[in-house]
């Protein structure tokens, strides 16, 4: 693991009207790291991801990606920089096949425009095949072969989650935002996904920022953890440090006087 900073959030504050959602949150994610963001419901975890994606504009503070301030960069351009995302509620293109869902993610890496596409034979065809190879690699990696040509809308929930992981991966991300990748899964599916996440980090060297509620998994696989509570960062450190932090225990289990 290199010691370079991949993503830096500096004093981020965000409020919706009177509701203060994030207060002076600073986070640094290092290159190649698996960084987990935890906290009770409504702590502002997804808000942070939305700020990084550019859906929300923080009231104060700056976001740096690979040393560049991306605060003013449009959401779709952030994808071109290499920021990819898996959503909490599956957000796939339901009318397309699994294969096409993954091919869409190659959009930013492809170049041919409407005219080449309409003519098809020649450049657009060659480009499609070139990217198809990469996508097939990902299909192989996530074991999606049998459903390659199924419409996404027809797939069961667990499979859709996996397809979404594949789509995020097809963008060739340098930073992957995972919003509750394990939500609503059974144990077996969770173990599969955990294995995929670790493989992505280790084999593909992707920096990962993950929001997750499954403490067992978070403690097992993440390198560092930040804990949010009501928009404030209350702790940061390795799994060992965080799990013994008093404030964290208080936030999760409630304050017990003298306990």
């Amino acid at each position: 693991m290199k010691d370079e900073t991949k993503l830096k959030l500096e004093h981020i504050s965000l409020s919706f009207g009177e509701q203060r959602v994030l207060q002076d949150v600073s986070i640094q994610v290092k290159e190649g790291e698996l960084f987990a963001l935890i906290g009770p419901n409504g702590a502002g975890k997804t808000c942070i991801l939305n700020c990084i994606n550019g859906f929300y504009q923080p009231d104060q503070g700056d976001i740096f990606f690979e040393g560049r301030n991306i605060n003013k960069v449009k959401p779709y351009k952030r994808a071109q920089l290499g920021i990819s995302r898996v959503f909490q509620n599956v957000e796939l293109y339901t009318g397309m096949t699994v294969l096409d869902n993954l091919m869409v993610a190659r959009h930013v890496l492809m170049k041919k425009g409407a005219i080449a596409g309409a003519i098809y034979f020649g450049p657009a065809h060659d480009e499609d095949i070139e990217h198809r190879k990469v996508v097939e690699d990902i299909i192989d990696f996530l074991e999606l072969e049998p459903i390659r040509k199924s419409k996404v809308g027809m797939l069961p929930y667990g499979m859709r989650k996996r397809v979404e992981l594949g789509r995020a991966l097809a963008l060739a991300p340098r930073l992957l935002l995972l919003d509750e990748p394990l939500a609503g899964m059974n144990l077996e599916e969770k173990e599969d996904i955990a294995r995929f996440i670790l493989d992505m980090q280790e084999e593909r060297g992707i920096t990962i920022l993950m929001v997750e509620h499954d403490m067992g998994l978070v403690m097992d696989i993440s390198d560092r953890i930040a804990v949010l509570d009501f928009g404030n960062k209350i702790a940061e450190g390795t799994p060992g440090e965080v799990s013994t932090n008093e404030q964290v225990i208080k936030a999760y289990l409630g304050a017990k006087s003298g306990a």
């Binding site: 994606n53 449009k74 959401p75 779709y76 351009k77 994808a79 071109q80 990819s84 995302r85 959503f87 957000e91 796939l92 293109y93 339901t94 009318g95 397309m96 096409d100 091919m103 869409v104 993610a105 190659r106 959009h107 930013v108 492809m110 041919k112 425009g113 409407a114 080449a116 596409g117 309409a118 003519i119 098809y120 657009a124 065809h125 480009e127 499609d128 095949i129 198809r132 190879k133 097939e136 789509r167 963008l171």
Partner: protein
């Protein structure tokens, strides 16, 4: 693409090909030859209907890209056709340009007007966008009716026939060879567009614009591009219509016509290139059939009165729409897919 049993692909190119087996190639080439020889042996009346179908098909394929694939409902397709038609005819009469120049100019001008009326798609979606394209329909129609410099108001303007090498293309047969290649080309381009990068971006925008944005698609500019291509096709169809009918009247480009176009798409199967073909053939054919049968209806049932018989085609259109929405909302294209699937397996159940 589903393959017939036993046809295995050993390259991605083969897997992506639409026409792969020898039988399919044979049917395609044979079908095209038959199509382009058809003026030799079918009568004029039928040929003129086929020409109208082919012109309509170009507009429908455009609308399919915008509404079927990009998910932006447009109620202004007929108006964009009018822009193309009138631009083309004005360029021809005022500047004496040949049809082969005015056709692309008409298409292009309609495309630009389409982009203009596509701008609200930055802010509004769904039904609200449909309302803003409705504005396009009414504004363009109003301008045509009230600007005598453009045409002749509500009256028809004459359009001269296209010329090719000194030969005036006036007959239905001549026009067939102008219109049909363009209709085939429009279908070919549409099909290819929607299965490559830009088309996938369109479908992603339709299915989930939020995710599309996060995945690096500039949703707004792709919506505008869809509006441009849609109106470009409409403009070309309008210019062809003028050259074919040899006259243009604002009354051909009404809201009713725009709704008919959407109806054709629904009947054929929204978001399917083959569906657009089926829908156009079915609805234009039905419309012509009903219009032709109206006099017979009067003689059988005179008590219906002139009102019913005059608007019989609209009544039938409404009925067909209701029946399709109730029994086959995925359109004829879906039936075609089902037929192909069962044909592949026949005589086995699965």
């Amino acid at each position: 693409m589903d393959r017939p049993c036993g046809v295995l692909c050993n390259s991605y190119a083969k897997d992506m090909a639409i026409v792969s087996t020898r039988l399919q190639w044979g049917l395609l080439v044979g079908g095209l030859i038959l199509l382009f020889c058809s003026p030799l042996f079918i009568n004029l009346q039928l040929l003129s209907i086929i020409n109208l179908m082919a012109i309509t098909l170009i507009a429908i394929q455009g609308l399919n890209i915008l509404t079927g694939y990009t998910g932006q409902i447009s109620l202004g397709q007929a108006a964009f056709m009018a822009v193309g038609g009138y631009t083309s005819s004005i360029l021809a009469t005022r500047f004496g340009l040949s049809f082969w120049v005015t056709l692309p100019c008409g298409a292009l001008s309609a495309g630009l007007v389409g982009v203009l009326f596509g701008l609200p798609s930055l802010r509004v979606k769904g039904f609200y966008l449909a309302m803003s394209t409705l504005a396009a329909q009414f504004i363009i129609y109003w301008v045509l009716m009230h600007t005598p410099q453009l045409g002749a108001g509500p009256d028809a303007v004459q359009v001269s026939a296209p010329e090719l090498g000194g030969l005036k293309l006036t007959s239905q047969q001549n026009m067939f060879y102008v219109i049909m290649p363009l209709a085939v080309l429009a279908t070919f381009l549409t099909k290819n567009l929607v299965r490559t990068r830009v088309g996938r971006a369109f479908i992603a925008t339709r299915d989930n614009d939020l995710a599309a944005e996060v995945m690096g698609i500039n949703v707004f500019s792709y919506k505008l591009l869809a509006f441009f291509i849609c109106s470009l096709f409409a403009g070309a169809a309008g210019a062809l219509y003028g050259a074919w009918a040899r006259a243009l009247r604002p009354d051909y480009f009404t809201l009713m016509q725009s709704i008919m176009y959407l109806g054709m798409l629904v009947v054929g199967g929204i978001g399917s290139t083959a569906g657009a073909v089926f829908g156009t053939i079915f609805m234009v054919g039905l419309d012509q059939l009903v219009t032709a049968l109206a006099p017979a209806l009067i003689s059988i049932a005179p008590q219906l009165g002139l009102g019913v018989t005059a608007s019989i085609s609209k009544i039938v259109f409404g009925l067909v729409m209701v029946l399709f929405l109730r029994f086959e909302p995925r359109g004829l294209a879906h039936r075609w897919e089902l037929f192909k699937a069962s044909y592949r397996l026949w005589p086995f159940a699965y």
